[in-house]
Symmetry: C2
Subunit: 344 residues, 2 copies
Amino acid sequence: MTGSVTLHDVARRAGVSLATASRALNGSANRVVGEELRERVLRAAAELRYSPNAHAQAMARGRTNIVGLSLHDIADPYFSAVAAGVMREAEAHGLLVTMASTERRPGAETDYVGAFRRHWASVVIVVGSRTDDRAATEQLAEELAAFEAEGGRAVAVSQPRLPVDTISIDNHAGARDLGHALHDLGHRRFAVLAGPTELLTATERVAGFREALTRHGGRLAPEHVVPGPFTRDGGYAAMRELLDRDPDVSCVFAVNDVMAVGAMAALRDRGIDPPTGMAIAGFDDIATLRDVNPGLTTVRIPLEEIGALAVRLALDDGVARPRVHRVAGEVVLRASTPRLSPPR
Amino acid sequence: MTGSVTLHDVARRAGVSLATASRALNGSANRVVGEELRERVLRAAAELRYSPNAHAQAMARGRTNIVGLSLHDIADPYFSAVAAGVMREAEAHGLLVTMASTERRPGAETDYVGAFRRHWASVVIVVGSRTDDRAATEQLAEELAAFEAEGGRAVAVSQPRLPVDTISIDNHAGARDLGHALHDLGHRRFAVLAGPTELLTATERVAGFREALTRHGGRLAPEHVVPGPFTRDGGYAAMRELLDRDPDVSCVFAVNDVMAVGAMAALRDRGIDPPTGMAIAGFDDIATLRDVNPGLTTVRIPLEEIGALAVRLALDDGVARPRVHRVAGEVVLRASTPRLSPPR
DNA sequence: CCTCCTTGGGAAAGCGCTTACCGGGACGGT
DNA sequence: ACCGTCCCGGTAAGCGCTTTCCCAAGGAGG
């Protein structure tokens, strides 16, 4: 970068020293700059279209206003909703968001947190479910600890085992409530499109759902739990697999909405028309998918709010850390899971 | 940030000078560091878990590996698809993406480009349709020019009037092709949910569609062109408005997919069941919406590819700028626009 | 045996900014 | 009239790194 205007130029043009120029522009604390001089400096800065060098400021001040955000895949509406919340709140606090999309590559989170450390981010937010990859989690934990030791603030979403402030979605309760609701509607022959077995988010949802069924004396046979990626295609493939295993299922719980939509497509390709041939429910209540037809029963998670909350947690001062924050979901019944037995 | 390990510490531990330490770590060009020393330095760095300070490097080198990305709303799947492309390509080049979501606030783009300038971003990408706000566009143009004058590279997506490399979607041709295709299917009584009248992206799509109808001797009456925001709710409201104005329309073109989905919801709320009561088409081919029911006829735009392309354009060396890149769309017919008259 | 070149290490000058610290003038109290 | 006390400018010391310039040592060539 050449030719940028520096504070030195501004000071010279205003006929003052660097120190005065800096103080005039920052309105430095416990120090007053004479009205006339400040005026002169501001004018000079405006005339020269001066814009301060963020790196020099970072060096001199020893801190930045950068938020580092790491997530699995920005194209996934789940993560982009969280990101939107982070960015909205960050903007409100004058923070700039640097974002990394790990594409679920193992170790990428740690690498990116390292990059954020190099940039002296003041906040780092890691969102994405914990995996059962012990070593990777361990490394990430270390990196985050190092980051906080340097004075940064980290918040993890859906990774409860990390040594930092944590926001957890109450997947178990949400799925359990959903299970009860579906049972109340009269559904009985359940199956689950279970998502990736190594992700806590997925397994918790399966477990919660299972608990509800058990409570009602039902059970979830192993062949009725079909794993697969957290994607549309994952849902599609899992649904086909399920139909092959047992065509007699009548209500499917896909552990996220994106999979549920893929599953609906699979049903139609097999000539089954939801919800008539098969009831189906999802999880997350992705905004973009609220208008699929039939309307998808799901568990609403306040994703944007979670993103915003992450920023606020990071910015809290004078509190003991790490803290744990739980966010509850809320069952939303729609047309994809009609009432089976007429209500009494 | 306190306590971070500096190069100085590494040098001391390795028993060499700062210069040597730096050279050993960077493998500096046209300079060789003795094998033994390099080894010692690398070991010391590893032992101390040294991580270089990005700001200091930026200062000393006079450049960074930051990409600044400004878009309207990261929660909108259109923009998150482009962002995904940008991030994928950026990662491939070792660049870090700093992102700003302007929420369509006028002037925000300019502010953020200013922020990217302060951070000496090496690349700035601005995505979002040009508005007819003369003054805002002018200011953005100035800011981008200043950025490039300082040695940065800027690329604008869907803002053809800016003095930088530009990627334009061929909205006109896409919408025209769609119009022809719908006509070929036998549709005749058309209306358009036109999106925001101040956005070029919207007006071009309307114009292209109109051209196709005109070519076939049809026309688009003013009451059949309903403006509104580029959102789900915008589509919903516009559809209701349209039904109030003229319930006899039989095929609606919503100028983006998100609106089309909102429009479908509005139809159902009025007891109309698409595509039977009303054919409907969108634009963009948003991935998340590919499984709505009925499948939405649309014009596929390679959004991710556009994001990736933006990064590549910015990184091109030794080419004359600014360049203009056009990206074509492709009509995708699905169930939402059935054939009306039996084919002959 | 001397000179010239090559190889590789160190000292130090910045990059642009903030912020102690210092110092001179004005003011008021005694 | 003198001495603290503010007020408000300037001087300069970093922040952590890269890179130029300088220099010592060793080898090759005359």
